[in-house]
Symmetry: C3
Subunit: 349 residues, 3 copies
C-alpha cells in the first residue's frame, strides 16, 4: 500500500482539501469499515451521517460534511475514490517474462515487458502487445492479436484470428471466438455452417468471468471501445456493440443484433437476433427485447415495452384475479339491470 | 483457401449452374461484403435485390435472380452455402501428435491420427478415438471414452467415466460430467448425495462454450445424436434429450426431465425437473416450462402456454392499468344506474 | 465397490432391518435399474409399487413395503441412501502428491496428504490444507487460503487473497474472486473502480461448474457454511449469503445484496443489488427479486410477489384478451342501458 498526503490525492483527482492537507492517508475503506489513516467516500448526501461517525481520516465528497474534519472535495466522489484506490494500491501486476512452463510458438510476436505465465499457449502468428499480462493457462490461438497493456486472467481463451485492442481486461475462463451457433437444415438433421469470421474487442473493453463471445459466421463480431461486460454474458455471432455500453451479468444477445453506444442492459436480459437497439437505451433486468428499440428510451418486460408502462402494468398484474371477479360481477349486475326494465315492463303491461 | 469452379461447387451441392460454370470461385462472403471471386448466397427472395448489387462472382439461390449473371441453383441455399464454405475453407485442424507438454497416462488408449496438444491431461483407462483433436488444456478423466473425429477445444473437461460419441464438437471451457446438484436434508443441513452416474453424448452432438452437463446420480444423463447446444446452457443430472434438438444459449433444463427429438428451446428458457417435453416442440426465448408439453406444439411465457395464447395475452398486458380504470368506471356507472331507478322510484313515489 | 451386509448399512444409517440382515449388498441403483445385490430406495409411498417390482435385494424406506422382503427402515430414506452410496462407493480421490508438472511456488504452504495434479499453479503465500485435492489445471492465486479436505476440480481458479474453508467442493471451471463489476462515470466513459476485497467461502460450501463469485470492492463477498450453489450461478461483489442456503443453476445475485440462511433460490432467479432476503425464503424459478423479502415467505414472478398471489394471477394472464373483450362488451351494453332511459324518455316525451 502506497502512502499519500491528502493534498497529493487532491492533486491526483483535481479536487481540493477542506481541512488538513498534510494528513497522511495510508489506506481506504468503506464508511463503516474505516480505521484512522484510511480515506473513504460519501457518494451522496444520504451517506453524510455515516461519514460523520466514520473513523476514517478523510472523506471524499462533493461538499463539506458536518462533523468531518478532512474532506477531499470533488465533483464526482466515486470517480475520485476509484483514482485514489488505484494510487494507494496499484495493481499487483506480475513481473515481465515468459515462463519456462509456457508454450510460446517461435512464430508468435511478443512485445516488450510482457508476462506470459505457466501453462499459457501462444500459437503461431499471434501477437502480444507491450506490457500485456497472460495469467496461467491463457490460450492465444493462431494469428490472434492482443494489444498492449491487456490483462488476461487464468483460463481465458482467445481463438484463432481474433483481435483484442489495447488495455483490454478479460476475467478468468472467458472465451473469445468460439464458433457461432449456425446450422442449415438437411431434412431433420442440422449441418454446421462453418464459422469463419472473427471477434474484435476494441480498446478499454472489459469482459467478466465465463463470458462467451462467438466469432462471426463471416466478418466480425464487434465490441466497441470502453464497453464493459459482466460475468456469464453471451454475445452471439455477428453482434455489433457500440462504445461505453454496459451489459450486466447473465445477459445474452442473439446473432447479428446491433446495440448502440452508452446503452445499459440489465442482468439476465435477453435480446433477440437481427434487431437494433439504439444509443443510450436502458433495458431493465430480466427483460426480453424482441424488436428494435429507439435511442434514449428505457424499456422493461418480456416483450420489452417502455419502462413506465411496464411498471404500471406490473403493479396491476397481481390484481388480475380480483379484476376477473369484478368483471364477472359487473356482467351479472348488468344482466340483472338489463332484465330489470323488461320485468318492470312486464309488470307495467 | 481452396479454389473451385462454379461447376465443381454445383456437383458438390447437388445443384446446377445458371451462367458460367467455369467461373473461378476463390472465396465466400456475405452479400454486401463480397468481392469479385467470392460466392455468396440469397436464402430468400427478399435478398435478391441485394444479390443483384453484390460484387460477388456467383450467388447461391433457389431460383434465377434478375441482374445476377452466375447463380448456383439449389433447393436449400443456406445448406449449399455451408457445404461450399467447408469446401473452400476446410477446418484448419492441427497435425496429429501428442505434445511433449501433455500428460497422457500410459493406461489411456489413443487412436490413430489423434492430436493431443499442450497441457492436456488424459487419465488412466480413457480412450480417444481416431482423428480426434484435443486443443490445449483439455482434461479427459479416468475411464472416459471419446469417439473418433471429435474436436474438443481449449479448457474442455470430460469427467471420469463419461462417454462421447463420434464427431462431437465441444467448445472452450465446457464441462461434461460435473456432479449433479443433489442433496438430502439432515435437519437444516444438506448432505451430498454422491453422483455416481455418467454423461453420454451421442454422435454429432455439438456443445457451445461454457456449457455444463451434469453426470447422473445413478445411470446416465443423455444427449441424443445430432443435438446442438449453444453457449452457457445448463443440463442437469439424469436429463435425457432426443436427437436433432436445438437448445439456444443460456437455457437450463432441471433434473430428470426428458426432451424429445427435433425440439427447439429458445435462449434463456428454463425447464423444470421431472417433466417431459415431446418431439418437435418449440419453446420461445425466456419461457419457463413448468409441466409436460405435448409433441409438435409451440409454447411461450412463464409458465409456458401455447404460443398464440401467450402472444395475444402479452399484447394486452401493457393495457392492464387502462383495463383496471375501465372496470372502476364501469362499476361507478353501473352503481349510478342501479341507484337511478330507485331515485326515479323515489320521484315517482 | 465395497460390499456390506444390510445390518452393517443399518448401523451406518441409524436404521433397522426388516427381513434378512445378512443379505449382501454389493451395489446401488434406481428402483427400475436395480439388479440382485443392489440396494435402492423409495423416498415416498407413491414409489412402493415400483419398489415391489424392483429386482433390488433391499429397499430403503420409512416403513415396510408389501411385496418387498428386505427393507432398511429409516426416517429419511434419501439421506440414508446418500450415506449408503458413499459407503458402498467411496469417492475415488487421487493419491496424495505434487505432480512434477504442477507449478507450486516455494512460498506456498502445502498441508499433509494434499494432491496437486498436473498443470496446477499454486502461487506465493498461498496455503493448501491437509488432504485437499487440486485436480489438473487449478490455479490458486497469491496469498489465497484453501482449507483442509477440499476438492477443487479441473480448471477452477481461486484468485489472490481469497479464503476457502474446510471441506469445500468446487466444480470445474468455476471462478472465485474475479473483479466485481464496478465503474465510475467520467462523462460518457467508465473508469474501473479497483476491486480490492476478497471472497470468503465458509466450510462445507459446494459450488457447481462455471460458477462466478466476484471479489468485494472493499471487504468481503461471503458465502456461509453449508450453502450449496449449482452450475453457472453469478454472485456479485459484496454479496453476503447465509448458511445452508441453496441456489439453483443460472441464478444471479447483484452487488451488496444479503441472502439469509436456509433460503432457496430457484433456477434462473435474478436478485437486484443492495437488498435483503430473509432466512428460509423460497423464490420460484426465473423470478426477479427487486426489493427486500421478509423471512420465511415464498415468492414468485417478476417482480417477485407472494407465491400464491403470483400463481393465481398467472392463471388469469392467458385470459387477458377475453377479459379485455368482456370489458368492451360491458361498456357497450352499459352505454346502451344509459342511453336506454333517455331513448324511452324521448319516446315518452
Amino acid at each position: 500500500m502506497a502512502e499519500k498526503s491528502l493534498e497529493e490525492l487532491a492533486a491526483l483527482t483535481g479536487g481540493s482539501v477542506k481541512g488538513n492537507g498534510k494528513a497522511r492517508i495510508t489506506g481506504f475503506a468503506s464508511l463503516d469499515g474505516a480505521h484512522p489513516g484510511d480515506i473513504t467516500f460519501a457518494a451522496e448526501k444520504k451517506y453524510y451521517k455515516a461519514a460523520a461517525s466514520s473513523r476514517a481520516s478523510a472523506v471524499i465528497a462533493a461538499s463539506g460534511i458536518e462533523g468531518v474534519e478532512n474532506v477531499l472535495l470533488v465533483k464526482n466522489p466515486l470517480l475520485a475514490f476509484a483514482r485514489v484506490v488505484a494510487a494507494l494500491s496499484p495493481d499487483d501486476r506480475p513481473s515481465p517474462g515468459i515462463s519456462a512452463r509456457a508454450d510460446v510458438h517461435p512464430g508468435a510476436k511478443i512485445g516488450k515487458g510482457v508476462s506470459i505465465q505457466s501453462f499459457c499457449v501462444v500459437e503461431d502468428g499471434s501477437e502480444i502487445g507491450d506490457g500485456t499480462v497472460l495469467y496461467p493457462g491463457v490460450c492465444i490461438g493462431k494469428g490472434a492479436l492482443v494489444g498492449a497493456g491487456c490483462v488476461l486472467y487464468q483460463g481465458v481463451v482467445i481463438r484463432e484470428g481474433c483481435r483484442i485492442g489495447d488495455n483490454v481486461i478479460i476475467h478468468c475462463n472467458s472465451v473469445v471466438g468460439s464458433d457461432g451457433f449456425g446450422y442449415a437444415r438437411d431434412g431433420a438433421k442440422y449441418v454446421k455452417v462453418p464459422q469463419r469470421g472473427i471477434v474484435i474487442l476494441a480498446e478499454d473493453v472489459e469482459l467478466g468471468a465465463c463470458v462467451t463471445v462467438d466469432r462471426a459466421t463471416i466478418g466480425e463480431t464487434v465490441i466497441g471501445r470502453g464497453t464493459k461486460i459482466d460475468n456469464l454474458v453471451q454475445i452471439a455471432h455477428n453482434v455489433k456493440i457500440g462504445e461505453d455500453t454496459v451489459i450486466v451479468a447473465q445477459a445474452g444477445i442473439a446473432g447479428s443484433t446491433r446495440v448502440g453506444s452508452r446503452a445499459q442492459l440489465g442482468g439476465q436480459v435477453g435480446v433477440a437476433g437481427h434487431i437494433t437497439i439504439g444509443d443510450e437505451v436502458g433495458v431493465g433486468a430480466q427483460s426480453g427485447v424482441t424488436g428494435d428499440l429507439p435511442s434514449r428510451g428505457v424499456f422493461s418486460g418480456m416483450p420489452a415495452i417502455p419502462h413506465g408502462e411496464w411498471l404500471r402494468a406490473a403493479v396491476v398484474f397481481p390484481k388480475l384475479p380480483e379484476l376477473k371477479k369484478k368483471i364477472a360481477e359487473l356482467e351479472k349486475r348488468l344482466a340483472e339491470l338489463e332484465e330489470g326494465p323488461k320485468g318492470q315492463k312486464g309488470q307495467e303491461g
